[in-house]
Symmetry: C2
Subunit: 439 residues, 2 copies
């Protein structure tokens, strides 16, 4: 069986370019009524019946029978055994990746996650106290897309933030456990782990059951049922984001070997048929070379069928008038992953406003970032990079404003507050300020 991958060819000089691009980018996050109904039932049942409901749904959808939720818990000994049992090369790679991810997130915490304060001339203290969350839940996909790297990317920032307890849930359909996932949980310091997935896992983490503790926030990828459940429990607990299909956009000036770019497009496409890979380049000859590399390399790929489906259905090779125009279009797309395959990436980086992660230069393949460069691989998808950020230490911290008004400050601020409170018709506010004025 051979497959051909022909991403849509577009040029910004075409008359219908804007519409064609919009159509190619379109991905509907529309609510699916059947999914919503099921999630409503699951949330209500888990809230009402706790463990019993979790067991029923796990048996029904994951074909995993257990007599108690305790029987679905992975012990620390089991996690450690998985780690110890890994081939040495795999264990070393996992440790190296974890060390780099930890270092990066420690730098992140230092740069943007520490408490701060200042004093006014009158002695009034103002600032913010930054504290970790008490307990978080991390959702790790299982089954056909079991990613140990996702365990590291969710648990390590929580750990660096200082979260007290990290509860992991991961579905194990028919009881099939992924040794690398368990090993990563051991390495990343997961506090407790349960082989539960789907909306029932989100519900258990949000409401708590007899066995699974309620958490303050739930992070981690998941689509359909998991995403719908996360959206519904948002407010009772925090959530990170609602993930859509993964995307890569490559901005190329023609200086990177075409094979490398083709393989980077494949890296995204191999995730699933809905993943999106786009190339923006002002050089038609280079685009043709990338297409030739796609044709040459695709047959070698074990996941050629998925790659072909993704590139044919959602991929695009777009010729632009210039690199500047390519940057402008990239901002419109606000991609999850943005590779600047240029000999002069720092020339273009300042023009790039919206992206989850920006990979600069030919050597920076997305795959290095996915696993071990250090930055988080949980990134905003589906244009949400316009307003949201990579998962980070800040997702596992929260801030409290700190205000200590001095006696002199109360006299000064009290007069302002009194005036404004009267203007808003809130007399108790006004009086509370007035009482603290100097006599």
């Amino acid at each position: 069986m051979t497959f051909a991958a022909r991403p849509l060819r577009l040029s910004t000089a075409d008359a219908g370019f804007d519409a064609a691009l919009a159509q190619r980018l379109h991905w509907s996050a529309e609510v699916n009524a059947q999914v919503e109904d099921t999630v409503t039932t699951v949330l209500a049942e888990v809230q009402r019946r706790g463990d019993a409901a979790v067991l029923e749904f796990t048996a029904r959808w994951d074909h995993l029978e257990a007599t108690s939720v305790a029987g679905l818990e992975l012990t620390q000994a089991e996690l450690k055994a998985a780690f110890d049992g890994l081939p040495a090369a795999q264990r070393a790679a996992l440790e190296a990746a974890a060390a780099r991810v930890r270092t990066y997130h420690e730098a992140q915490k230092k740069a943007s996650g520490e408490s701060w304060s200042y004093r006014d001339d009158d002695g009034t203290l103002l600032g913010q106290k930054v504290t970790p969350l008490d307990r978080v839940g991390i959702y790790v996909p299982g089954g056909k897309a079991a990613y140990p790297s996702s365990v590291l990317m969710n648990a390590l920032p929580a750990h660096v933030a200082g979260v007290g307890e990290i509860i992991m849930v991961v579905p194990t359909p028919r009881g099939e456990k992924n040794a690398l996932v368990l090993a990563a949980a051991h390495l990343a310091g997961v506090t407790r782990a349960f082989t539960v997935g789907g909306a029932q896992a989100v519900a258990a983490l949000a409401y708590g059951t007899q066995t699974i503790p309620a958490v303050d926030k739930i992070t981690g990828p998941g689509r359909d049922y998991v995403a719908a459940a996360k959206r519904r429990v948002f407010g009772l607990v925090g959530i990170d984001m609602i993930a859509g299909p993964s995307e890569i956009l490559v901005l190329a000036d023609g200086s990177t070997p075409p094979d490398w770019v083709a393989m980077d497009l494949f890296s995204q496409a191999e995730h699933d048929e809905l993943a999106q890979s786009i190339l923006l380049c002002p050089d038609a000859g280079y685009i043709a070379q990338v297409q030739a590399a796609i044709d040459r390399l695709l047959p070698e790929m074990p996941r050629a069928e998925i790659i072909a489906a993704s590139l044919n259905g959602r991929g695009a090779l777009i010729q632009t008038r210039s690199m500047e125009e390519a940057c402008e279009i990239s901002n419109r797309i606000a991609p999850e992953h943005l590779e600047v395959a240029s000999a002069d990436p720092h020339r273009w980086e300042p023009l790039l406003k919206h992206a989850g992660a920006i990979f600069l230069g030919a050597f920076t393949s997305e795959s290095l970032g996915d696993y071990c460069a250090g930055p988080n691989h949980v990134l905003p998808t589906s244009t949400t990079a316009r307003f949201s950020s990579p998962l980070g230490v800040y997702d596992f911290q929260k801030r409290s404003s700190i205000i200590e008004v001095s006696e002199a400050g109360a006299d000064k601020l009290g007069r302002i507050a009194f005036e404004l409170a009267c203007g808003e018709g809130l007399q108790a506010h006004a009086r509370a300020a007035e009482m603290r004025l100097k006599r």
Copy 2:
């Protein structure tokens, strides 16, 4: 008409204390089916018909007729005229408050909202670029609770973040405009303002209409319809939080004048009947003094009826065994506003983990923080301070990871990524890394 306010008296030494406290704290954020149905319709109609739907809903619910949405836009001249027309004392107070809020948020941006990066020994660059959102919408409540301070608290952090366009929506039922709200919009640098409210305003900002531009994020308080609409459009745009009723918790060691504490409890209670005011104190005699102050001061308050309803329905005066225990209970409640009415507030502050804002010492009334101390008054409610933060500059920024792997780095990282990608069965990821290894 006279009113009596008798907040529930509890003691942590009581047998049923935990249950009684839980019952008092209970506030259901449950989804209301009628609200949801209406919001579903409003969202669909505004998405489909744009301006026409906005006009219809505004006429129906705000009793405000207009022939075009352009007719609902407040011009910059109108905002400036409102500012120029304020009484001098009010204008000066508004300016002083705005200056302080701006200064605080500039410090916040400097402390936690700047780009950062570092280089590995092998030259690999890692960091995060922090950039402002392009366009945001701020929802300002109107009608009976029109708060100009909310305009400052939403618009100024956006302005400090560097947001390109700030679109304000504020309902003006029957066309009644609040001069202070318009003046605050002028002062805070709002780009465009529309007299539209409710779910239709949220829909217009999320989808865009012929006249109202689509934004990247919507912030600002609002309950019922507005909150339900924000929850529904989350993902298409960013939102700040889902607000519940406002709360204050006062931790008192008995050193603050009881009148001051009583008035601070009133400040919260006067917002609405669902607002919650709680006092925690180890000294029964002091609690009695606060109750006596409540009895004495209540008749003087213009909003006595609302204050009495709030304190009787949701208020509590709780005797604790110690200040340490009071801090522990405060963490359980995770209040929006937390006053530490103590002669030694810095002794207790380190014990306080969860709160939107912490007001230290007798002179720091919540009302000073509400208007002009500098920190934001948009704070997490209903125990969400466990996982969320005050509105801040960070709500109007997003982050992009920056990765530039050197040639030497690609060789080192490529080997790790290759190993892990093989372990996850993602061969294109593995090949992309392998291609960049040194020959």
